[in-house]
Subunit: 425 residues, 2 copies
């Protein structure tokens, strides 16, 4: 395989930037919105059309296509040694209702472009390669998100997942059958030699730091809470300050504490109050109750807990000070994930070898790679998106950046194939 | 009149506590709610029944009853000198939809009890006395509040006010006609020798300070604002703290600043954020916009403005710090009101003379007395209400406290009558 690596050593000239871009634009026509975005919900007929197009492109690239029981599509390019576990890449082609052209689709079509480039170069890899479309990553029509990769990684059972329904009562199983993507292949037990996922960053860091490639170290752990603060609602005029039990004054202290805790636990700390409602919500009534959400994220479990402890102390002291009571209820708990060091090094080495500006970065959001990482070595490649904006019809990315990300993907996959072949030789 | 004052010198034994209480309870049956409150919206048939009861009681007490063009009812007890301007008292008998038995009704029935007590004592005053029911103080069915006293004080024109409609499109004029209280008497030009209004405090201060009588010095000035803060909504995961423009973090600083400004401008300062909405209101999205209300109250105009300046500075610096823009829109501006020094002294002197515990207090809320004060010397008497709770079906007050307030009212009205007679002699 050294020959293959050598071919790709000094540049990413072999990736066909315009072919990649045109495939992205062609896919984006399926569900195109007036505002330039895409609405292609999972397991709709538009999703079927997009899947059919992916299958056609992969078959044209010489792949064998199989579909598993949850509708994940695997396009396999044979390797020299069919007994080796595949080097995989992929992402999703379903979108948010007001989604963009790049979220997920870039990862899938970067995989297709890898296949096409290898064909152009007439290069055979030692290990087989696979490009995967994971079913329903967005979870917009059928919660939860990352459904296909979750069943693949045995986070969710196939039976339960097929029974999930959309708002019209249509089940995942029915929808898969309706679009012809209820596959025969067994979902579990699929070998994973390595998995790389290319994705737009969906955040503003790379753009802000003027870097082309994000070497994704892992994904932030997340702990979510609902917080209810109870005081006493009273008339804003006749109730003097020292006799108030103002739930919103308490809530403001908590919002400030969440922000302060995140700033005090950098790097890789986020703290967000996304929802806050004050009751009864009348201009001249002191709020007697506030309901709010707390979202804490960190790469290190101990520091995640330290942030939360700091905010808990503020909740205690604030409630004491203002005569409030509170209920703090955990609603989600995802541990941090560290990607495989070899995969991280393969991505970093590829970016370095290609002379691309790059930086280590962590994913603040969920991706299929996080579930696939449970089954084998995994890594991710981020490229910038304009203004850090995603899950929005104005989502945008530069053709050069996408091609650069694809070149890194190709190189990392070839390196992983060489590693797998070397260790199994 | 000194004889009359002497009779009432050392106690309030002449006020019939139980008669006052029973009248309050009888009035409270009209519109009684299951939870022990009263729902008697202005100009409904229940309001008519309450008005009829008041008129009957006043006529039984020997009064002449007239009604003006906005439905205010004047029950006049003749004085020895009919040329003197009347010493007036009153309040309202309309309620909030979930109102209590005492808000307004106490002031009206304390006036009726004053008439009855004077009759019991066979006392004639020098100046005529009048007990007034002001139309639609609550403004629940027909905004604005303090409608009847507002037209009386020429704050609102009669024509405009009669044209105001409820949610069903019924106008004030139509509703007055329907209940038979569109009176013939001219609204403006009514002489006011003095005006006293007894009222439950609707706040917790008297109870907290264990005082029976609040000598009301004036009413807080009020300035209200709408504040809109705009940042950038973004995904709570991939957006690092230093690149956020979190409108809710800014709003929290403003809530804290409003509270701090009020605490720093004591006494007689209130600052309240009653409404706060964060958009888009999703658990893992950084709020891009917050809309909130600011309510500032103070007895001194300069200190009211100083509070607001302090908060404006925080809004400026917070928006600068967090990259936010803002719109601050004034929505109301009521100047502070100081009651007439002679009326204040009449109330304080009455409480002292009767040996009642008392304290100076200011009204944080609006009352009919605030408008009437534009036309002549006015003052108010507060008595405690349980837990400071009002505009609520559980509103409650102690019979002894109500009788004490009524005794102070009687004594203050007699003192005012003597003063008017003395200055006009």
């Amino acid at each position: 395989m050294n020959a293959a690596v050598d071919v790709l050593q000094s540049s990413h000239q072999h990736i066909n930037r315009d072919r990649l871009w045109q495939s992205l634009m062609e896919l984006a026509r399926l569900g195109a919105t007036v505002k330039g975005g895409v609405c292609r919900l999972a397991l709709t007929d538009l999703d079927r059309q997009a899947r059919d197009l992916f299958v056609k492109w992969c078959e044209e690239a010489g792949c064998t296509v199989t579909v598993d029981g949850i509708g994940n599509i695997f396009a396999r390019r044979p390797g020299r040694n069919p007994g080796l576990p595949p080097v995989m890449t992929g992402s999703h082609i379903d979108t948010q209702p007001t989604g963009g052209k790049f979220d997920g689709c870039f990862g899938v079509l970067a995989g297709v472009e890898v296949l096409r480039t290898l064909n152009d170069l007439k290069l055979e890899t030692e290990a087989p390669l696979e490009v995967v479309v994971w079913t329903n990553e967005e979870g917009s029509r059928f919660p939860p998100c990352m459904m296909g990769s979750g069943v693949f990684a045995e986070k969710f059972t196939l039976e339960d997942t097929l029974a999930k329904t959309d708002v019209d009562g249509v089940s995942v199983g029915e929808a898969l059958n309706a679009i012809g993507y209820a596959g025969q292949r067994k979902v579990s037990g699929h070998p994973v030699g390595a998995y790389f996922e290319a994705h737009i960053e969906q955040g503003p860091i790379l753009e802000d730091e003027r870097k082309t490639i994000g070497v994704v170290m892992g994904a932030l752990g997340q702990k979510w809470f609902d917080l209810k603060l109870r005081g006493v609602e009273a008339h804003a005029g006749p109730t003097p300050m020292h006799l108030r039990k103002d739930a919103l004054v308490g809530a403001a202290a908590v919002v400030a504490a969440v922000n302060r805790a995140a700033l005090g636990h950098q790097p890789h700390a986020c703290g967000t109050v996304g929802c806050l409602q004050a009751y009864p919500g009348s201009r001249n009534v002191i709020p007697g109750e506030v309901r709010m959400t707390l979202d804490f994220r960190h790469l290190e479990p101990a520091r995640l807990d330290s942030m939360i402890d700091q905010v808990r102390q503020v909740i205690d002291s604030t409630c004491e000070e203002h005569g409030l009571s509170f209920e703090l209820t955990p609603t989600a708990d995802f541990p941090p994930l560290y990607f495989n060091p070899d995969c991280i090094e393969a991505v970093r080495g590829a970016a370095q070898g290609l002379g691309l500006s790059h930086m280590d970065i962590v994913s603040g959001a969920g991706h299929d790679a996080i579930f696939v990482a449970e089954l084998g070595p995994a890594g991710m490649i981020f490229v910038p998106c304009e203004g850090g904006i995603s899950h929005n019809e104005i989502e945008n990315a530069a053709p050069d950046d996408l091609a650069a990300g694809c070149a890194v993907l190709l190189r990392a996959m070839l390196a992983a194939s060489a590693t797998i072949a070397g260790t199994r030789r």
